[in-house]
Amino acid sequence: MKILLDKINVPGINTFEVYRREGGYRAVEKALKTMTPDQVVEEVKTSGLRGRGGAGFPTGMKWSFIDKTSSNPHYLVCNADESEPGTFKDRYLMQNSPHSLIEGMIVSSFALEAKLSYIYVRGELKFIIKILEKAIAEAYANGFLGKNILGSGYDLDLYVQPGGGAYICGEETALLESLEGKRGNPRIKPPFPAVKGLWASPTVVNNVETIAATTWIVNNGGAEYAKIGIGRSTGTKLISACGHINNPGVYEIELGLPVKEFLYSNEYCGGIWKNHKLKAVVPGGSSVPILPEELFLKTAAGEDRLMSYESLSDGGFATGSMLGSGGFIVYDETACIVKNTWNFSRFYHHESCGQCSPCREGTGWMERVLHRIEFGKGRPEDIDLLVEVAKRIEGNTICPLGDAAAWPVAAAIRHFRHEFEYHIKHPEKVMDADHVYQPGMVMA
């Protein structure tokens, strides 16, 4: 079942003409001409759609938090900052079918009674910004944006805003700060954006994929959407698969697909490259816990793991992980978990905005300690030190970047402690062979 990528291979689908001919912009006609904003919100609630940016918060509920008593205008801001390592699904959708996002922005803005909306795109994606601006110009030219859209009396202006290179601006309140022309420092919540967001007005921030999915929901109804998927994981999800697999790329899956099928079927990842064996998977972007092969394929209770919010998190952090953003990173038997963990720690240290001391200082500590372990200078007490530092960051910061930095370190040690110990015991061995940990090196 494909909802977002069903037309992705139609030649010219990036143009208004072809997108429209293929049935595009019907949701705008339907919503604006036959529905009230509240009816659209209701359909989205019924659909069970959950935020695709990582947290999985129910979209309809988020929309209903908009403060209707405020005299300020409402805003919809699309989060196209996509910077979570391993995640490249939003870029794929915007690059190949920009109108899927524009159409979703129009129906979602209508539902929220927003007359001015922005798509905040990470600054590095200059070519995506050009693609979106062209698509927006086409939508204006065809009467789907601007004043009195389709004679409905509804006005909407839509603009693209570039970021400047900062992972933290994917966090929704940092994003709003950035959109106001400031440093990307996350805000203390409450107040939540639905009450005080952009320019202190009621605002909803949603991920690209979330917004694009609302089009299908308007066309087919929330109840139909809720039939797709499994349990509370309704609908489809874009998964960007990368690392040591045969077919890296973006795939749309129905939630509930067995992870084994996703990893090994030729329709998706096509198995591990070079006929190597699987070692571990980070299923939802760099922030979520890494799982070793056994726990990835089956839950601790021995059930087949599925690509769904519930199944991937089954067992909590002790034996599970998270669906997150859908950034699916695969490690084969040659991958060095210590090196990978150091790499991610360097990333979070670099990207910490510096507001909260536990995150600013703690990410630096973790990076330095992991670096010395990786490069043969580790001390036996370093492993427990890392666990301790991670614990002190988690839950003690304004925004979840602190958690995102702590979880990968804690999970790597939880499941691959022997590799850290090996590095510390055998500095001379980790220094050669390009620092690559070899399987079978584990010593008692």
Partner: protein, 174 residues
């Protein structure tokens, strides 16, 4: 060099400011920094001060923002800045080798500019192109599935000036 936009750029500045409600022109700061960097090459103090006057904000409001975001160059750079992604998924597919090869080939350390002033080498974090790793960004374009041979080709192409700054086709992934 005098720091001033052309009339065409000034019209663009006006258009950008019109995207926000009355009085919210500070939101134009990031778009203007990008525009300025494209024109002037890097964000010198003069450039930042100029932007402050265009937006009627204090210079410090520009400095604190420009230094926060990784895309703005705070010192002069080569004609082309090679930004190689070094994050996990790219590392799994050989970004270390790409970085080492570029260092050797250009005779520079990280952050350095080649003697002929053509190339500045930088590493950056995940650019949402992990499925086409290893990769780098040069100006508007992403160069993906990199190998040593491909690097040779790309550098030769830039050296031959086959791709000129302004003619650079945006959106190309190579």
């Amino acid at each position: 060099m005098e720091v001033k936009f052309s009339q065409e750029q000034l019209d663009k500045v006006k258009e950008i400011i019109s995207r926000y409600p009355e009085g919210k022109q500070k939101s134009a700061l990031l778009p203007l920094l990008h525009l300025a960097q494209e024109d002037f090459g890097w964000c010198s103090v003069e450039v930042m001060d100029y932007i402050a006057t265009l937006l009627h904000i204090k210079p410090v409001e520009v400095y604190e923002v420009a230094t926060f975001y990784s895309m703005f160059h705070m010192k002069p750079v080569g004609k082309y800045v090679l930004e190689v992604c070094q994050t996990g998924p790219c590392m799994l597919r050989g970004s270390d080798q790409i970085v080492n090869y570029l260092k050797k080939k250009l005779g520079v350390e990280m952050g350095g500019t080649s003697a002929d002033g053509m190339f500045t080498l930088k590493t950056v974090e995940c650019l949402a192109s992990c499925g086409s790793a290893p990769m780098m960004q040069v100006e508007d374009a992403y160069y993906e599935y990199l190998s040593e041979e491909k690097i040779d080709e790309i550098l030769d192409m830039f050296r031959a000036n086959a791709i000129h700054r302004k003619e650079h086709f945006p959106g190309r992934t190579v």
